[in-house]
């Protein structure tokens, strides 16, 4: 069922949409959105379930560290974030899948 995204979802989508092709890490997203890990991770899981977010293990930039879980928007996620970025027509609310 479609519904309007929460402010937290909106914040995450906007943060990811700011650098659409870059892989982002959980802790960086926390800093950027101001969300706590307890809110951010369930959100990322849900966006991933909805096919709006792709997650991948990326090699760490720091030598000798294990790969980190990184995130970026899928094509579908980019369109959703793009729709959110545009002001909605009067009386209409942008909805997520």
């Amino acid at each position: 069922m479609s519904r309007a995204p929460s402010p937290q979802t909106r914040a995450v989508l906007e943060a990811l949409f700011a650098q659409p092709r870059a892989w982002r890490y959980g802790y960086d997203l926390m800093g950027e959105t101001g969300l706590q890990s307890g809110t951010l991770y369930p959100l990322l899981m849900r966006l991933s379930d909805q096919g709006l977010l792709e997650a991948e293990w990326r090699p760490s930039l720091q030598q000798g560290r294990p790969p980190r879980h990184a995130y970026r928007l899928t094509r579908q996620g980019l369109s959703a974030a793009n729709a959110l970025a545009r002001p909605a027509p009067k009386g209409k609310r942008t909805q997520l899948a």
Binding site: T9, S37, G38, L40, Y41, P42, M45, R65, R68, H69
Partner: protein, 214 residues
């Protein structure tokens, strides 16, 4: 050297990983690795506490799925019960409208003769409460699917009415209950529908209206 708070944070995330459903384990692993990149003990601890909260959230989401399975199963069972009552009403009405029916009509088997006898002595007025019970059960099943709290009230009313009617039926001459041959059969027959109300009550209390953070 790893600080105490980092060690405690690692333990918390490990715990989060254990409580998360198996499909979410890679997320717990992601959290654990992310912890290595957090400077400062307090920040790490705050991060880990959030991860534990996320773990419990996922656990609750999984429970919600389980509750949904129970909800649909109970709704299907209630609807099936209502369906069987519709068949019972129709069958009884047909038999009663043909007073000349004999045991050979539905079949020559002894049990069928008993069934025919039961239907013939069954008071016609009882079809009205049975129809009412059917309506209550159908409405209860629909409300259960729609996650409405009143499902419990409707199903409870249906079960109670069915139980009262079952007690009234006892006075019928020659009536044998389904489980009358089994020891304590009648008690079991009454208890089963009442016990079914337990999961319905539980569902109406917590799971159907459970909201997960969006």
């Amino acid at each position: 050297m790893i600080s105490i708070s980092h060690r405690l944070a690692a333990r918390l995330i490990e715990h989060a990983g254990r409580i998360m459903p198996p499909s979410r384990r890679q997320w717990a692993q992601a959290m654990a690795i992310e912890l290595d990149h957090i400077p400062g003990g307090l920040a790490a601890l705050a991060f880990a506490l959030g991860c534990a909260q996320a773990g419990y959230t996922q656990k609750i989401v999984a429970m919600n799925l389980f509750a949904n399975i129970i909800r649909w199963t109970l709704a299907a069972m209630t609807a099936a019960w209502a369906g069987s009552l519709v068949v019972l009403i129709s069958f009884t009405a047909i038999i009663k409208s043909a007073p000349g029916a004999i045991a050979a009509d539905p079949g020559s088997h002894g049990e069928r003769a008993n069934t025919l006898h039961l239907i013939q002595i069954y008071p016609l007025w009882e079809l009205v409460p049975i129809a009412l019970i059917t309506v209550l059960l159908i409405a209860g099943a629909v409300q259960l699917v729609r996650r409405r709290g009143m499902a419990l009230t409707l199903i409870a009313l249906g079960v109670t009415a069915a139980t009262v009617l079952r007690l009234i039926d006892l006075r019928l001459t020659g009536y044998k209950g389904i489980s009358s041959d089994a020891p304590m059969g009648f008690l079991v027959e009454l208890l089963i529908p009442l016990l079914c109300l337990g999961p319905v009550w539980w569902l109406s209390r917590q799971a159907p209206d459970l909201k997960v953070c969006t």
